[in-house]
Subunit: 140 residues, 4 copies
């Protein structure tokens, strides 16, 4: 399985009046996770953009297991989930490095939009097919 | 079914470099929806807090149907989903009022934490049970 | 003096672990104030954009007088400050409507960028000059 | 002069519809800068909190010199500015590491609040006086 890890320091601005990280900020951590994955495997946002595509998030899920407090550090583990269709799927685990606890898991789905017309690509773009062939073989 | 509606102007700061509302900001719109629901039905965050509880989000899902651009206005329809256990469930529809399109749907689940001990309440708090009896009957 | 007012409900996500609105969020409130001003006087972001310009913020200042807590409501008073050069200046007062207190004041400066070339306009764009003539006379 | 540096990758969610980092996000970068300074010199938010104080921002200023685009990396240089009164002053320089340009400068002022009573400390707290004696001497 292709995966990557990134460590993130919590920003004070990311906490809320319960004293913990506001739940919606985990989508920012997932974004950091995707970008770390992209750097590790040559699938960064700007690389995809240069190939002619936007890849907006069309679905996201977060499942919170434990709170994270200011001053704690987290690690996001981002796992690539192969899909047959023209989609990019990731699953995430957020580990609180201060406590060792799994604090959240999540999923996202991205699609390909032609960056000029902003229309949905129903077929897997060629560059992404090539990426899959190269990387999914490599990871066996 | 208990539901409420709120109209929201998109902030420029809520857009991203694709020129549309950044996907994670929908969780802020859901928050606005919950609070509008709370005002309509006497179940606001601070009311619950005064009863002794935090109600953190433990699950959230967003399903995007269409982008929203700066300058457009949205409406969030928040629907209360009755649950037997000590949970609060909502479903959301986000309608782009400028285009008439449904632009996103979503769900959240909240649990009750004792605000002092921060421990999970396994049983439905009495005040919430009373609220359900009063409001769910009322809505038949 | 040209000015406008807008009332804003604080979002839970805008609070921080001190239990108050995180200081940086006031720049979002100023943005709401500018947009309310724009609606009142025909100087909205998209109107300016249609005329061919971006108007990025190049300076901002916030001076905090008192905290704002979740559940409180604020009002932003946005005052247009005439300037001779190709700049847009605003001053802001943020009033806590729950307590009646002035909770913050601030300033912003915007310049005009050609939206295609992204180069700075050193001269006041014609449409903005016309706007000033029409509105500043009107306000005498 | 006491100062510290931190490098920050721009998040996609930090950009806006002009395609650049939204101006208000620089206050998050300043926050990262302060925390990096705190780590380097033993003046972290949580250290101060343990001594009995909140140190809210009461003034902030940002002066933008050049835009920052997604995919670019920045460095925040945080400089401690000694003050006689019970205040903490910092100045910031944000350098775009991709272009080498200075993209923003800024300032913040913090005060000390007793964390229980939330009242303003008019005199320099003893621990902070000791910190100044130790660190400002050290830096000569």
């Amino acid at each position: 399985m292709l995966s990557s890890e990134i460590e993130i320091d919590i920003r004070f601005s990311e906490t809320d009046a319960m004293g913990v990280v506001w739940h919606g900020n985990y989508l920012k951590f997932f974004e950091d996770g995707r970008e770390a994955f992209g750097k590790a495997y040559g699938l960064e946002y700007l690389t995809i953009f240069d190939k002619g595509y936007f890849t907006p998030i069309v679905k996201s899920e977060i499942d919170h297991k434990a709170p994270v407090y200011y001053g704690q550090k987290i690690k996001v583990i981002t796992k690539y989930i192969p899909a047959k269709s023209a989609k990019i799927l990731f699953e995430y685990e957020v580990v609180n490095l201060t406590t060792g606890e799994l604090c959240a898991v999540g999923k996202t789905m991205q699609v390909f939009l032609d960056k000029t017309s902003r229309t949905l690509e129903l077929l897997t773009p060629e560059f992404y097919h090539a990426w899959k062939v190269a990387n999914l073989a490599q990871s066996n």
